[in-house]
Amino acid sequence: MARPFPPYTNTLSRVIVFGLFVSPILIGWIATAINWSPYINETNIPRNQPVPFSHKHHVGGLGLDCRYCHTTVETTSFANIPPIHTCMTCHSQIWKDSPMLAPIRDSYASDIPVQWTRVNFVPDFVYFNHSIHVNKGIGCETCHGRVDEMPLTARGQPLMMAWCLNCHRNPERYVRPREDVFIMGYQPPENQLTLGRQLVQQYHIRKLQDCYTCHR
């Protein structure tokens, strides 16, 4: 009686059976990797803007404080994009004829705002509040990265839920003294965990992991 299957069928079947277990894991791993890749979450990808505004120059070079432009960050949910008026406080005096700044001057003259490309955002069903984070000792840098080293602004962190929860579960790893919140290039001390636990207590930081903290 002729054999119905050739010998290599054994190998094939083993591969298939093995693959049944392995391939979902593999596919899942690949999908996760893609999802977490900068390609998807746009981390560290500089965005083109109507005016190539450089945080590197203004923050790193000139040493402007974050709050000079983002005035509402300590009081409201939203860290505002500065009005054109803020740009003109300096640029009506310096670089006032620079062609690069033409859109700013036009906007100021015509009252038509400049449309920037948004860099940092969370989905509409996430309610993020800047003021509470800043007031509880979370540095700008912790979420936005080294803005002072960005010639064109890019997203500093993936801003995905698992990333958020990482800090909400372990705030002591990231919290810093309130006076250092707006410092770029802050070096956590050696005893960050000890200091962090102390600050968590001092600032009444709670490990908010309820869905309603952000989704409502």
Binding site: I34, Y39, I40, E42, R47, T72, T75, T76, S77, F78, N80, I81, P82, P83, I84, H85, T86, S107, Y108, D111, I112, P113, V114, Q115, W116, T117, R118, F121, P123, D124, F125, Y127, N129, S131, I132, N135, K136, H204, R206, D210, C211, Y212, T213, H215, R216
Partner: protein, 1020 residues
Amino acid sequence: MPPIEREKGKGRREEGEEKRENPGSQFPIPLHEEMDPAMDRRAFLTLLGASLALAGLSGCTLRPPDEKIVPYVHPPDADEMTPGKPLFYATACPRNGYVDGVLVTSREGRPIKIEGNLLHPASLGASDAITQATLLEMYDPDRSQQVMHRGLPGTWDAFLGEANTYMQAQRAVRGAGLRVLTGSVTSPTLVAQIRAMQAQLPAMQWHQHEPISRDNVRAGAQMAFGRYADTLYDFTQSAVIVSLDGDFLLSMPGHVRYARDYAASRRVRTKACGPGQPAREIMSRLYVAESMPTLTGTMADHRLPLRARDIENVARALAQQVGVNGVAPTEPLPPEVAEWVAVAARDLQAFRGAGVIVPGDFQPPAVHALAHAMNAALGNTGKAVRYIAPVEAEPMDQAASFRKLVQDMQAGQVQMLIILSSNPVYTSPADLDFAGAMAKVPMSVHLGLYDDETSALCQWHIPETHYLETWSDGRAYDGTTTIMQPLIAPLYDNTRSAHELLDALLVPPGRAGHDIVKTFWSGQHRGADFEAFWRKSLNDGVAAHPLSLRRRGGTELSSGASVAGQVSLQAANPTSQPGSPSPVPGGGGLELIFRPDPTIWDGRYANNGWLQELPKPLTKLTWDNAVLMSPRTAEKLGLTRQGGTPGTHPESVPVVELRYRGRSVRGPVLILPGHPDGSATVTLGYGRTRAGHVGTGAGFNAYALRTSDALWHDDGLEIVRTDDLFSLGVTHSHQTMEGRDIVRIGSITQFRKDPHNPDGKEHVPNKPPMILPEAPPLPPSEYAWGMSIDNNVCIGCNACVVACQAENNIPVVGKEQVLGGREMHWLRIDRYYTGMDMERPTGTYFMPIPCMQCEKAPCELVCPVDATLHSDDGLNMMVYNRCVGTRYCSNNCPYKVRRFNFLQYADIAPVIQLMRNPEVTVRSRGVMEKCTYCVQRIQNAKIDAEVQDRKVGGDEVQTACQQACPTNAIVFGDINQPDSQVAQLKAEPHDYPLLAELGTRPRTTYLARLVNPNPEMRAE
């Protein structure tokens, strides 16, 4: 008619013979009609394939598209606006001339929520359903946006040119051909403008026409005092309240304040529970004689349903027995009525000076005069009853005024007619052919929010600015004046306010509204501090200048004996007796009663989806009006329900033809327990033909039967059954829990004996032992949110329902979906009847049902994707972005408070998107949603508190329903803080959880309803 259930029990919804087979199922009626019947299987599969392919294509974009972010060019002043922070502005919401003070929340320059104004005496922070819903009116995409000239688009300049020609011609004849038609007016600025017009054109006429007219009130005051006067009640001062068809809890001017005061006289506490809730174990007693079931009637300790024409007899009998001299005797009353009158009279006598008699706005003047006389004779005047000079600028007999206008128009004497914010073509009494008379007016101008029935017949239609876009002013029921400020620049360029229109007609091209109002007030408040006065008045929402106070204080009518003598003489005057004798009950024709609609009022809110879909307080009817009658009357007419006829919706009811004085309309019948026999009630405001996409075609037009000599009730109605059936969107059978121990009702005497058990029945303990082992306790948390709802003072007015809808971006679903039980209100108000007799329910009770936020929530156990979970502070969270729409949670919810987006209900009209609360997710199709205790308010309060390094106060967070509630029946807060109001209320002995036997441990609990019956009254 089948027999009614004979079981005596509370918490039973008995209506008609229809009773749900399966009370537990939330969506009882399958909706088949939503799938387009024109689409066959093949077309469906084609579309399915195409959409799959497209879904695959769109799935290729892994990254979200680029978003633009647009900053200001010039920043607004920091005190004007900070992006991300709401601002609050005081203004006032006008209705029927009177205004209620409101405080409007503005986000980034857009008004998104209307609340009551704490500083305004008509509001005290509360509001009503209609006021809440006027927000949607402003954003209504159907609002008129274009000047129209004979049905074609025109321009403001062209209008002004033509109007000028006519005005010039009128100047030559001193305005003899000029007529201005308004509703009731209290606005000092508008009055000054009309007076200025009259000064220039002395022969012109000002007519008033308010469909929900208060002519009876005015005539009653005339009869009693010989002049016009407004009556104010103070129910906090009253121990005995007798209402003669007076619905002071829902439809009178000042009803929000009246509800607050009434609740204060009824609230029972064993200990003081925070502000406004002192320890007291006494209640006022309310007697109501009424011609149709109203909210006031449901609160009554002794309710007497009577045909409307019989109320006057009761008033006469009552007046005789409380000692008003010289009242014409009445024919003998039926024993039941006589007993009610005798008991009420004895009670009033026993509490002289602490009682109040409230006549209904829709009762004839004689009833008002008798009520004034009774209040005077009993010494109530000056205490619970006060009289002030009329708040209206020019009180007049509006019916006569309007009739005169129509006569003049027909006689061709009217050359130019200016109609301000009124829709007389629709609301005119049927015997006055206003529409026909319009044809004889060469120049007619209509200013209105909508391009409506009237604008269609006018030469010119000018779109009106909404009150939230307008500078104006107005006065409240007690004379308090508010200068109204706009919340937003007019959404549409061509809109004008009444002030701007009149100003442009007088002095072309006219000034802006702001200048008109400010100029007027600078004339009223002369002095260097005008700017301070102006700013303070706008800030407070109450004019600091005592225009109102001066008039009120100066002309407050004298109280006491002098008025008493005056009144009794007048009331005895036989001319006040109406001509028609009271016919034999049951014989001859039926009585026809007209009433304003509890949601869309006189029809002006017909295009407001929130109000159309709001279940009317007693009938729970949405999207329609109906012919309301008692079960016995319906049975007599052979109009019992046709449930289950093949091919019809289970809620189908017979359609009848109403014939009255040779006119007829057709409408569906709705049986309303507690309605008096021998009469039928229709509500006005429906059957609009040019209301807009929402309101056109809903219901039937009761104005078609209404005549100018019988505006509120009359005999001679004939009801003829037709073969048609009609489906009514009645929500009372949706989301039902009936047949269990739900509403607890006890008497105040029993409460004093055993406050834990005011209804004297055995109940499951509030925390029953669990069958399953106790779960480990929740982690200790700083906060434990909870809510207490006081059934004792809930009047069922629906303010909370609309407040919730506005706050939480709850969509409107439409009548078809309501028929399938798919309305989306997170907060519903259940209505229950008690008693053995459908005809005379012994009580009607309301119960607001939000999510109970169970500590052991059944919904959480069955969610397969963890989309509903528990938070540390005790909230039952609903995570929309996780929900996959299995609806298991809803099926497992014993309270039936979860709502599912079967279709994409959330509006897509861009202008509606402006109205949305940015703090709350707009839910998409396929997502379950429910009450969250306004978690956005909790979170924002927490953030604000923590930024300031403090704890959120126990009473600091107010939910939207709580904030709107006129009677303070809803209290929310942190039960972990023992001094919070909610913690104190939950410690009250008559606090109980709903369906405690299920062991869900709800965080929302109820306070039992208490009644205060007079032991002298024969047991019913």
